[in-house]
Subunit: 239 residues, 2 copies
Amino acid sequence: MVSEIRLALVPPGRTWPRAGAVAVVDTLRATTTIAMLLAAGARAVIAADAERRARQLAAARRALLAGEVGGLPPPGFDLGNSPAAINPQALYGREVVLFTTNGTKALCAAAAVGPTIAAAAVNAAAAAAWLARAERVLIVCSGEAGGTAFALEDFATAAHLVQLLASANPGVRLDDAARLGLELPSPLRLVREAAHAADLTLLGLAADIETASRPDLTDVVPQVTAAGAGWARLEPTRA
Amino acid sequence: MVSEIRLALVPPGRTWPRAGAVAVVDTLRATTTIAMLLAAGARAVIAADAERRARQLAAARRALLAGEVGGLPPPGFDLGNSPAAINPQALYGREVVLFTTNGTKALCAAAAVGPTIAAAAVNAAAAAAWLARAERVLIVCSGEAGGTAFALEDFATAAHLVQLLASANPGVRLDDAARLGLELPSPLRLVREAAHAADLTLLGLAADIETASRPDLTDVVPQVTAAGAGWARLEPTRA
């Protein structure tokens, strides 16, 4: 039974609130991509907090190397960060090391705080069910610009999660940001209104916005099962 | 004609965006109080960024000393920070030095950036009309905990300002936070839902929440007319 939901509009700085379950949201696109990679059969996704570390991890583990800088895969990467361009045949049973500008950094930071999952619109209902096992829930928006700026698409998904959790847990305490999420009508429609959606469209990645806006494409919940300095390993669970 | 609106969910850190007009919002209660003090006849309000500086300024200028720490006036203060408890007879023609936990700090920081006003629900329409003279508008929520935490009551007023400005300026560019404000139905009703409203109610200050929730009690726009290290002088203008 959830008694408290806190919502961080950007990743907290040094001091993270305590929580029994943490959901990291990077709707466009890291947590969407992680959910879809695991749904497509990847064995694990290892989120890295720096491009260089991602390259080292992938080489050491003979894993696929995926991610983006400025929205596009850097030279030498096997895959980008496109949830709409996932090919299950290349993924089955493989590990994928993922580096992205905001989401994988937030996942690495959250993994040090408590039980952590990657949440997005595409796995929202399953993520909410997983979170509902804890008493104190923290939802963390990854934001833009390395986590320093607000991102509407992350708040949209976070608001959707708050609405799912609050309707199943009447009387739950909400902080001010979660309360705002509760009051926003049909939040997921705002994913495509975000400034970053316009950036992706200019890069020819509009299909990713479509995928990232669709609720409950999968019931896979990517859960952090191990973490170290600058990395967090996520494996598929279900709620 | 406004072409761009940016909304800071908490005061920016070191780097503030450029703007032709800045509105600082501390609905509960500093900017509400400033508007009501000037509407009641005070000649100027000098916002101070520290309690000690407020005491020094008030003594040096023979001004009234007003404000709060933990919601209540510290010992030796002439007035609290209560917009509902303003007595025009004591104020007419006087200067008031105001120190509060969040709003006066944000005002001092904003004053260094560009033309700045104090905005609240009580003067929202006049504040929006004043802002509409600029091309680039920045609305800054003062937040909680010294400006490090999101405050729903400030976002509520900021969203109301965005809605007024956007309806008068079709096609205006909005950043992600301003866009969220545009999408929030009837934002001012959320002032009383904020966590800080519950704190004030416990302190016996529920009347301040009522006052702070009411739109357009005055057409006074408190504008920064002078500023220095740790202080900003606001005088009444109209839009």
